[in-house]
């Protein structure tokens, strides 16, 4: 089908999957921020998610498909763009593009590597078994103690550092991605362009800082 081979078709697929992934990190962020409301909140949230049963797997399959499309076409488009571009100019000068736009592939790959680690850490719980919820005592309401797992994990400098670096990569990825879909889906009208780009960058910083706040505040022992 043309959508999967055409230059604009694949751009639109990148935008649509990107948008859905932004929707995911929005919900995920709101859920994670319940850690600041104390053990009861996040443990209840974790249990509620877990109790969805087969829906969880349906959701995971959907996420897998989104990531597969976004990553496959992202790398494919990057390779084609490399092939289309010969040696650089003796003087390399860009006028309006940003660091984040130029590094989308690299920040994307960092996020992918982080995602795999993140799943092993908090979902499969094999990287730090001693402080994983499966091996920790249940909380007062007999729920897996996700709160303690998070706090004990992020009290380790190395783990927090991995998360913070990955979230900086996410911030950079979003700084180009959030505004980019407006143009790609054809909503941009010209005069609104600069504003859309600025709003995208501000939102990226909000997402980035909010995500970074979780390991950082735990590492600083402000949340314990």
């Amino acid at each position: 089908m043309n959508l999967f081979t055409n230059t604009v078709g694949r751009k639109i697929l990148m935008a649509v999957t990107g948008l859905l992934l932004i929707a995911f990190i929005t919900v995920h962020l709101i859920g994670n921020l319940t850690v600041f409301a104390g053990p009861d909140s996040i443990n209840a949230y974790a249990k509620a998610l877990h109790d969805l049963g087969p829906l969880v797997w349906l959701f995971r399959l959907g996420m897998l498909a989104l990531f597969a499309v976004h990553i496959t076409f992202g790398i494919q488009l990057y390779m084609e763009n490399k092939a289309a571009t010969p040696d650089p100019y003796a003087i390399e000068k860009t006028l309006v593009t940003s660091f984040s736009a130029k590094t989308m592939l690299y920040t994307g790959l960092i996020i992918l590597a982080f995602l795999l680690y993140h799943l092993l850490h908090f979902t499969v719980q094999v990287t730090n078994p001693a402080i994983s919820a499966v091996n920790l005592p249940l909380d007062a309401a007999s729920r897996p103690d996700v709160y303690s797992m998070m706090v004990l994990s992020f009290q380790k400098v190395f783990i927090s550092l991995i998360y913070i670096v990955a979230m900086v990569a996410l911030l950079l990825h979003l700084a180009h991605g959030i505004s980019s879909w407006v143009q790609t889906l054809g909503w941009s009208t010209g005069p609104s362009q600069d504003k859309v780009i600025s709003i995208g960058k501000v939102l990226a910083i909000v997402y980035g800082l909010a995500y970074i706040a979780i390991p950082l505040l735990i590492l600083a022992r402000i949340v314990k």
């Binding site: 055409n6 488009l77 006028l95 736009a101 989308m104």
Partner: protein, 250 residues
């Protein structure tokens, strides 16, 4: 003023090419950039050297032939200006100037600063025909086109097809060029009947001709001597989406 020029010299498409240094002496600030090169070439010819080959035609900024990247910017540092309209008063005595050809795999270098831009013509040809009335001259205003639509189409039609957008694009994409054509014809009654076919064909040609994909860097808009806006790329994307909707007619 006296200048030091670093100019890309390449004997032919197969040659590897390299930057060579020349001195341009007694350059008048009132000269255009191309006139400065003309005088340098006169000197080169007089001393038995090969003159620098470069493209040019109208020298009034409308033909789209001139194609030089000056100090890393297509058409030089002055905004909304082609090389032929760039004047030496924009430079200072003693400046070092790097002059290179457009660089994109779709634009093979033929010699020195001259590149083959046939790939843009292929995109145009892929766009195909427009349906319009033939025969006797129609009465004025037979086809009603509102002023905003006429202005919009005219802004897109200002593209001179020089290829600076491709030269500036980090991905060597020709999307700004293709979008100017797609947008102009998609809003006018003379181009609307073929809009669906046109956007598909022109975007397909973008890839088959070896151009890269657009990733919204917007360097093209900044480099364009005619100020073609990236809003036309948004329009092209919209036209592409529209072409996905099944139509009873096609």
């Amino acid at each position: 003023m006296d200048l030091t020029l670093h100019v890309w010299r390449q004997k032919g498409p197969e040659d590897t090419g390299k930057l060579e240094t020349y001195k341009a002496k007694n350059v008048s600030p009132d000269q255009s950039f191309l006139e400065m090169l003309d005088e340098l070439n006169d000197d080169l010819i007089k001393t038995g050297q090969d003159p620098i080959a470069f493209d040019h035609d109208c020298r009034e900024g409308i033909c789209g032939m001139c194609s030089q990247v000056i100090n890393g910017r297509p058409h030089g540092q002055q905004e909304l200006t082609t090389v032929c309209q760039l004047h030496m008063r924009e430079f200072a005595d003693g400046d070092e100037i790097f002059i290179e050809p457009w660089r994109a795999r779709a634009f093979p270098i033929l010699r020195d600063l001259i590149v083959d831009r046939t790939a843009l013509d292929v995109i145009m040809q892929a766009g195909g025909y427009t349906s319009c009335h033939t025969g006797g001259v129609a009465d004025g205003n037979t086809l009603l086109i509102s002023k905003p639509v006429a202005d919009y189409a005219m802004d897109a039609a200002a593209c001179i097809g020089c290829g600076a957008c491709v030269a500036a694009c980090p991905n060597s994409s020709a999307m700004l060029f293709a979008s100017a054509k797609v947008a102009q014809l998609a809003v006018l009654p003379q181009g609307k009947p073929e809009a669906r076919r046109r956007v598909l064909a022109m975007t397909e040609a973008n890839l088959s001709e070896g151009f890269g994909n657009c990733t919204n860097h917007y360097e093209c808009e900044a480099a364009c001597p005619k100020g073609i806006s990236v809003k036309f790329i948004a329009k092209l994307n919209r036209e592409y989406l529209k072409s996905m909707i099944p139509s009873a007619m096609e």
